[in-house]
């Protein structure tokens, strides 16, 4: 996109309050990331050894799932702006199903860890693993429920070019969930 916008024509999508929440949430996660790298630097061997117990395929596939979900949600917002009202609902449903797929895979992963006797009490690495992915997982559950609710409203024709504010706000939250995972995944599963 090569166009240059003046400050007057620039627009924040959705509600400003949602952006403040998203910014605060991202700052909180930023501090979690900082805390993790500081603690890791004190005992790199333990963190690298513990990381080998993680299956990075789960993390990688879940990244692809969340990216695809975000893409569907972007397209849903664009569809609303183009007054393609039915498309909005279908795209939000696709996004929500991706969120559900992430949840299923996460439960499989947690179950696998717990069945191997790994918990947040195992060591510092796994404490961070369970707390960081757990808080993020909670965000995914909230976001998935939100997408299903938005989808239901979209089926009733709520979202179109003159009413996109809350659809954009929901999309903003969902993209934050996506981008936090983009950092969490390499931090926990790949960095060594």
């Amino acid at each position: 996109m090569s166009h240059v916008l003046s400050e007057k024509t620039r627009r924040l999508p959705g509600e400003a309050g949602v952006w403040i929440f998203v910014g605060a949430d991202m700052l909180m996660f930023g501090l979690f990331f900082t805390s993790f790298v500081i603690e890791r630097s004190k005992n790199v061997e333990l963190y690298n050894l513990s990381q080998q117990a993680l299956n990075f395929n789960y993390g990688g596939i879940n990244t692809l799932i969340l990216l695809t979900s975000s893409w569907f949600v972007v397209l849903a917002v664009h569809a609303a702006k183009m007054d393609k009202v039915r498309h909005v609902a279908y795209l939000l449903a696709a996004g929500a199903l991706c969120g559900l797929a992430f949840c299923v895979l996460k439960v499989v992963e947690y179950t696998e860890k717990i069945s191997h006797g790994i918990s947040m009490l195992t060591n510092d690495f796994f404490m961070y693993y369970f707390i960081l992915t757990g808080i993020h997982f909670f965000h995914v559950i909230v976001g998935t429920v939100m997408l299903f609710i938005l989808c239901r409203k979209a089926l009733a024709g709520t979202y179109h070019s003159r009413n996109v504010l809350w659809l954009e706000s929901g999309a903003t939250y969902w993209h934050m969930v996506d981008l936090l995972w983009i950092i969490l995944f390499p931090l926990l599963y790949l960095m060594r």
Binding site: R11, F33, L67, S70, H175, M176
Partner: protein
Amino acid sequence: MGLWLGTPTLVWAVLMLATCASTWWLKSGAATSMLATAAILVIAAVKVRLVIIHFMELGDAPLKWRIFFELWVIVFSGVILAGFWLSAH
């Protein structure tokens, strides 16, 4: 351009390819471990920026908002990279 053929789809394709490269190519020893991790972290920062600019549409948002989120990427990616580099030495 229609709904499916546009910048979001192009950005999504780049994000998917970058994820596959990080997860199943760089991780599996295509480069030395330290270089591979540094590349993986830089790729993650670029991916986050793509999401912020194109998916969250901050590219067209008032500058104060865009600057805040762009700074978030720079600061915390920098912290993670610095933490990784320091712990490797």
